[in-house]
């Protein structure tokens, strides 16, 4: 099933490809590369790694690069995978940023950007709705989702303060429910 374990250069190159392939989220591309093309992981191993990356804080895809790099080549592999993932997109986004600074003042560009910003918000709204429709939320635990929306979205509590209270409460509730 699995192919030969990747070297440092492999990790860098393949994660570079993953990084520049996806728009608005590259995790599906990471799965394709890892499971289907390179066969560095089985589908089950990928899901296992993904669940770890989702539980831990931080950008999920960066965590995934760390997991995969560590698995095959230790700390150096993790570094190579993260650098591969981030370097090219970083350069591209800054180039776009520079173009925008230069031309953003033009009436046509700023008009177009009002539309693009509105559409970009729509992409995120859809992501939120998709997650909210998850069956895992059809339980009294949904009250914690409402609390997070109201606390952070409406009341504008600092995230750290909110999480310090909400994470223990929510995990305790989950533990109590699974007795």
């Amino acid at each position: 099933m699995s192919g030969p374990p990747p070297g440092i250069a492999d990790l860098f190159i393949r994660f570079t490809q993953v990084g520049i392939s996806g728009f608005g989220g590259v995790m599906p591309w990471a799965r394709r590369m890892l499971v289907e093309e390179r066969r560095w992981l089985s589908a089950e191993e990928f899901n296992e790694a993904l669940s770890l990356c989702q539980v831990l804080p931080g950008p999920n895809i960066v965590n995934m690069a760390v997991c995969i790099g560590t698995r095959f080549r230790g700390a150096l592999g993790a570094f190579a995978a993260v650098m591969g993932l981030m370097c090219a997109p970083f350069a591209i986004v800054l180039a776009l940023g520079a173009l925008f600074t230069h031309y953003g003042g033009l009436p046509a560009v700023s008009a177009a950007f009002r539309g693009i910003s509105a559409a970009a918000a729509g992409l995120i709204v859809a992501m939120g709705i998709k997650m909210a429709a998850s069956p895992r939320l059809r339980s009294p635990m949904a009250v914690f989702a409402v609390a997070a929306f109201v606390g952070v979205g409406l009341v504008r509590l600092p995230l750290g303060v909110f999480l310090l209270v909400a994470v223990p409460a929510s995990v305790a509730a989950a533990a109590w429910r699974s007795r």
Binding site: P59, V62, L85, L94, A111, F113, L163
Partner: protein, 174 residues
């Protein structure tokens, strides 16, 4: 300048450790820090940088690079990106080596069950705030709603939706 870099480094490393479920969950906190606390940019500029990051290939987290760049140039971009990636990466590096041992542990599922609703609520808060920041007209809200509906109801590539939004804007309707 170095003071700003230090602020970026401290703020964004904390953000890294609070980002359960990825960057969208920390959008409200990012907005609070960057727009409301530090006054580094307006809410509209924040929404524009977010849109640029969405229109660019790569992880969503790149919005942080753009914020750093806007605030303190290339050094700011590097510091902001490293700050938001490093703490969580180091944590992941450590945990990934012992995770296998806990694969069947019951507390693992309990922690996940506890975190999922919070993540969802924070994602909704993030999308709510970015919508308020991006949309200044009725047409803006319409574009946001139509885009969201298109993502949920069709398999159209997101870049086409961004382009369509851009065209409506270019026509002077937003």
């Amino acid at each position: 300048m170095s003071e700003v870099l230090a602020e970026l480094a401290v703020d964004f490393s904390l953000l890294s450790l609070f980002a359960v479920g990825g960057v969208v969950t920390v959008l409200p906190e990012l907005h609070r820090g960057v727009v409301e606390v530090h006054g580094w940019m307006t809410s509209t500029e924040f929404a524009q940088l977010f849109a640029l990051a969405q229109a660019s290939p790569g992880p969503n987290i790149l919005v942080v690079s753009l914020i750093g760049w806007k605030v303190a140039g290339l050094a700011g971009a590097v510091v902001a990106t490293a700050a938001v990636c490093a703490p969580s990466s180091i944590l992941t590096y450590g945990v990934s080596q012992v995770w296998q041992r806990f694969r069947d542990a019951r507390w693992r599922k309990t922690v996940e069950d506890g975190l999922v609703p919070l993540t969802v609520g924070l994602m909704l808060a993030g999308s709510f705030l970015i919508t308020l920041a991006a949309d200044q007209s009725a047409m803006g809200f319409i574009i946001t709603a139509v885009t969201a509906a298109a993502v949920l109801g069709t398999r159209i590539h997101p870049l086409w939706l961004l382009a369509a939004g851009g065209l409506v804007g270019l026509a002077g309707w937003v």
